[in-house]
């Protein structure tokens, strides 16, 4: 993906599947959702969290 990291110049960044899964794991460890949980994550459609969610 191309990312500016919000404040920098846009540059190519390699985002791996395991990287995204590590992110999910971090969220899970911190916020301990269970089978009855429902998470709402509304990013802009061009955000990596939206493209990865698809």
């Amino acid at each position: 993906m191309y990312s500016s990291g919000t404040t920098g110049a846009s540059k190519g960044v390699r985002v791996t599947a395991s990287n995204l899964l590590a992110g999910v794991d971090n969220f899970t460890r911190e916020f301990t959702p269970d089978a009855s949980s429902s998470s709402l994550v509304p990013p802009p459609y061009y955000h990596i969290a939206a493209s990865a969610g698809r």
């Binding site: 990312s3 590590a22 999910v24 971090n26 911190e30 429902s38 990596i48 969610g53």
Partner: protein, 144 residues
């Protein structure tokens, strides 16, 4: 644990509020601009947020007054997260305990590094690690 996800195109804050209530959202990850939309929406004042346990916010600084209104409206645990989705999402965390401290200086902090995140503040250009209190550039490394 089974994780089921779906994505929907939501183009206005009213629809977002409907979704949040209808799905009995327990965890919400929101940016301050969306928190402001919800907090200022008349329908939100009467909405049922009893299922909501955790609000994670980040991506831009939050005004102290807005944070206070959000805590009041949602009545949930608040955590601030700083990071980049293309690293590991959560880089640092300002946890619910920090929010309960009521210390305005603490609330301006981005918190502490999350588990498995290496973080340093460096001098831009040289990359030399700076000591506590010095202003520099944040470099972080997370699991890949």
């Amino acid at each position: 644990m089974q994780v089921v996800g779906s994505s929907r195109c939501v183009t206005d804050a009213e629809r977002l509020l409907e979704l949040m209530v209808a799905e009995r959202t327990t965890h919400a990850a929101l940016v301050p601009v969306i928190i402001r939309m919800l907090v200022e929406m008349p329908e939100a004042q009467e909405a049922d947020f009893t299922s909501l346990r955790t609000v994670v916010y980040g991506s831009s600084p939050i005004a102290p007054g807005l944070l206070a209104r959000a805590v009041d409206l949602f009545d949930a645990e608040f955590t601030q997260s700083y990071g980049l989705t293309e690293t590991v999402g959560i880089g640092t965390l300002l946890r619910p305990d920090d929010h309960r401290s009521g210390d305005p200086t603490r609330l301006k902090s981005a918190g502490r590094p999350a588990a498995d995140v290496e973080l340093r503040i460096v001098e831009p250009g040289s990359g030399t690690t700076l000591t506590a209190g010095e202003v520099g550039e944040i470099v972080l490394r997370a699991r890949q």
